[in-house]
């Protein structure tokens, strides 16, 4: 897991250069609570993400990280509190939900590419059908992003023919094709072999450098150090601590954070 921290640590932390570029709020969560049946999985979550911010969320397994970011594009419903994305509050209004999903890209741990479509079709599906973009244009955009993730030559293959790292890069490109304002990543590298992790992280660092708003659940501490504005530590469904990466890693405040960091770094 920390193979990569070697690779990325060679670069100087880019955080200073990556100043938050705007004061707009991209995502705001106010007192969000969520239950699975009787189980209280998110507790009083308060979080404000500015446009251009890059947030890394970490924490032990089962602490509610995935649930949190899945609430942001309403893959899960919250029961209490308020979530506002890009100025739109998430309620039961289906139209709002669609609008929000169009502006929020998500990359999953298991890629979830569509196996029956070629790479190019995977990337153009949403632009054509959601954004009503002409096919030509959608393909141009798709090729642009495939270039960006460095696999233009795979455009006409099927997902089954690609390695895990390549698949995850396609998943990122696919999200980018919708030109989202916010990107969510849910442990994008944890299903990958070490060499492939690097490929994917490089792409993500690139994105970060361009100022994309990112909320990323990951345990790649090298990545967190290098690109995050803020690191959030969750446990038991709550935000236990949040801080800028340097302070977070060098000077954790909470006992739980200290324990967690001592396990994850060696």
């Amino acid at each position: 897991m920390s193979d990569l921290s070697v690779a990325t640590e060679e670069l100087p932390p880019v955080a200073p250069a990556l100043k938050v570029s705007s004061t707009d709020v991209a995502v705001e969560m106010v007192d969000v609570n969520k239950w699975y049946g009787e189980f209280h999985v998110l507790r009083d979550i308060n979080l404000k993400v500015m446009r251009g911010e890059r947030i890394v969320i970490c924490g032990p397994s089962g602490s509610g990280k995935s649930t949190l970011i899945r609430c942001i594009n309403r893959l899960e419903e919250h029961q209490k509190g308020k979530i506002v994305v890009d100025g739109k509050e998430l309620t039961n209004d289906l139209r709002k939900i669609d609008e929000v999903r169009r502006e929020v890209g998500m990359v999953f741990q298991h890629f979830n590419l569509f196996p029956h479509l070629t790479i190019l079709e995977n990337c153009t599906l949403a632009p054509i059908n959601v954004r009503k973009m002409p096919k030509r244009e959608a393909e141009d955009i798709a090729m642009h992003y495939l270039n960006r993730v460095k696999i233009p030559e795979q455009a006409n293959k099927y997902p089954g023919q690609l390695s895990g790292g390549q698949q995850q890069r396609v998943a990122i490109a696919r999200s980018l094709c919708m030109n989202p304002r916010v990107m969510l990543f849910d442990e994008p590298t944890s299903a990958l072999d070490p060499e492939m992790i690097k490929e994917v992280l490089d792409v993500m660092v690139g994105l970060a450098l361009e100022g994309m708003t990112m909320i990323c659940v990951t345990h790649e501490m090298g990545f967190a150090r290098q690109v995050a504005n803020r690191v959030i530590f969750m446990d038991g469904g709550q935000i236990i601590e949040q801080n800028d990466p340097v302070s977070f890693f060098t000077n954790p405040q909470h006992e739980r954070t200290k324990l967690f960091l001592s396990q994850i770094l060696h």
């Binding site: 938050v20 239950w35 507790r43 404000k48 935000i239």
Partner: protein, 444 residues
């Protein structure tokens, strides 16, 4: 950047709270499962109405308006509900058909033997599986055969006619000798041709001789039972005989066909494939027709088969083809390494199959096998088409009896038949599901 939120350390842990009232409990459950969206609410209401609309008449017919007692059709002629009195009066015939009343204890005995043999077989934890299987597959069929037909078969008489030599222990000995020699010859030939000489496996020879002798002797003995020809069997008895014999006979046949289809010998492979595909490609009732109309044409003059036996042959062959495909699936799931491991230890083809491959693949396909048993069980109703009175046939025939015929008699009969078949098939499918889950756990 206004970064008031930059640094944050929670100082108090938030305790778990109870979820909002409208998301748990009966309310939450209904909200989530019945009325989550407007569309869902509409569907719930519509379905509720539908259920009431569909189920009420059924309950009225089968329970509220039903006639429970009576001695003949007068009781039901004006009824708008089921005529259970008729079912009660005919129940024995539904079960035994025309089996003579004084002899019905024999059927009961066979039934209880089956139940006693099956129950411990079906409970995974019960001990003595091997003995149990010997009982079910070896002793039970012979006993059932003798009890149901009455035994005292002079099969042996087919070899040496009475006119040449009257029945005597000597004739039995001679005929037994001839028969076992023939069987042994074929077993030996088959074994040699397929890879492993039987020489040395003295106990195999012994077992074969013993079994042949025992079966012949038992079937030949006069137990003093009145013979009951199969034409008089009927009802559930015929259904169960056809189903169970079909199941038991189709399994080994299916295994042979499956092995044949995977054989490396082109002729064997081709023959098995054609056999399987042809049987699977045609409807069962044409097979039954063939068995009942054409089989007599195929046989030499004077040789006849009992009608039930003909249906059994048809059903068994038909089902064997389906069974073969199920088992082939299981064989294909066994990794190559198992074959190689067995070969490297020096096991021969049949040893390998018997001890390594088949036990594993049969276990995998148990759910599939039970599935085809269920369809076989349902298909037994088709024997009606060739004039055998199975459970459904018997019910239909009786519904038309002048003594009980009434507007509701037929429907009552169908409902009763449906309930009985459903109970059998549903419990089988539940059992299959249970085994599947158990095996899954075992594999994990």
């Amino acid at each position: 950047m206004n970064a008031p939120s930059q640094t944050f350390v929670s100082n108090a842990l938030i305790p778990a709270q109870a979820p909002p009232a409208n998301s748990v409990g009966i309310n939450g459950w209904m909200r989530k499962n019945l009325f989550s969206t407007p569309l869902n609410s509409v569907m719930t209401v519509v379905l509720l109405v539908f259920i009431v609309w569909a189920v009420t008449p059924f309950i009225r017919f089968t329970l509220i308006d039903a006639t429970w007692t009576g001695t003949d059709r007068q009781a039901c002629l004006r009824s708008t509900g089921a005529c259970w009195a008729y079912v009660k009066a005919y129940l024995p015939q539904f079960i035994y058909g025309r089996y003579p009343i004084g002899e019905r204890w024999r059927v009961d005995l066979v039934f209880w033997m089956l139940v006693i043999g099956m129950i411990p077989m079906l409970i995974p934890r019960a001990p003595f599986k091997r003995l149990n299987a010997i009982f079910l597959l070896g002793i039970f069929p012979v006993a059932a055969f003798i009890l149901l037909t009455g035994g005292h078969y002079q099969f042996a008489g087919r070899l040496i006619p009475n006119s040449v030599m009257p029945p005597s222990p000597l004739r039995f000995a001679i005929e037994f000798g001839i028969l076992s020699a023939v069987i042994l010859f074929f077993v030996g030939l088959f074994a040699w041709l397929s890879g492993k000489p039987v020489a040395g496996s003295g106990n195999v020879v012994g077992i074969i001789l013993g079994c042949v002798a025992a079966v012949l002797a038992l079937c030949g003995i006069d137990f003093g039972l009145v013979p009951v020809e199969t034409a008089n069997w009927g009802g559930l008895l015929v259904t169960l005989v056809v189903a169970i014999t079909g199941m038991i006979a189709s399994l080994p046949l299916g295994i042979l066909l499956a092995l044949g289809r995977r054989s490396e010998m082109p002729v064997v492979k081709l023959a098995s494939t054609i056999f399987i595909e042809v049987w699977r490609g045609v409807p069962l009732i044409t097979v039954l027709f063939m068995a009942s109309v054409m089989l007599p044409l195929f046989l030499p003059d004077g040789v006849t088969f009992d009608k039930l036996l003909r249906a059994l042959i048809g059903v068994a062959l038909f089902n064997a083809a389906y069974m073969a495909e199920t088992i082939r699936g299981g064989l294909q799931a066994i990794p190559r390494g198992q074959y190689e491991g067995a070969k490297a230890l020096g096991l021969g083809y049949w040893q390998m199959m018997r001890m390594i491959i088949l036990p594993q693949s049969l276990k995998i396909v148990i759910p599939g096998i039970v599935g085809s048993f269920i369809s076989l069980f349902k298909d037994t109703t088709l024997v009606i088409i060739i004039g055998l009175y199975d459970f459904l046939g018997q019910i239909q025939a009786s519904a038309n009896d002048a003594k009980w015929a009434s507007p509701v008699t037929g429907l009552t009969g169908y409902i009763f038949a449906a309930m009985v078949f459903w109970a059998f098939c549903f419990s089988m499918s539940r059992y299959a599901a249970f085994t599947e889950r158990r095996l899954d756990r075992g594999r994990r």
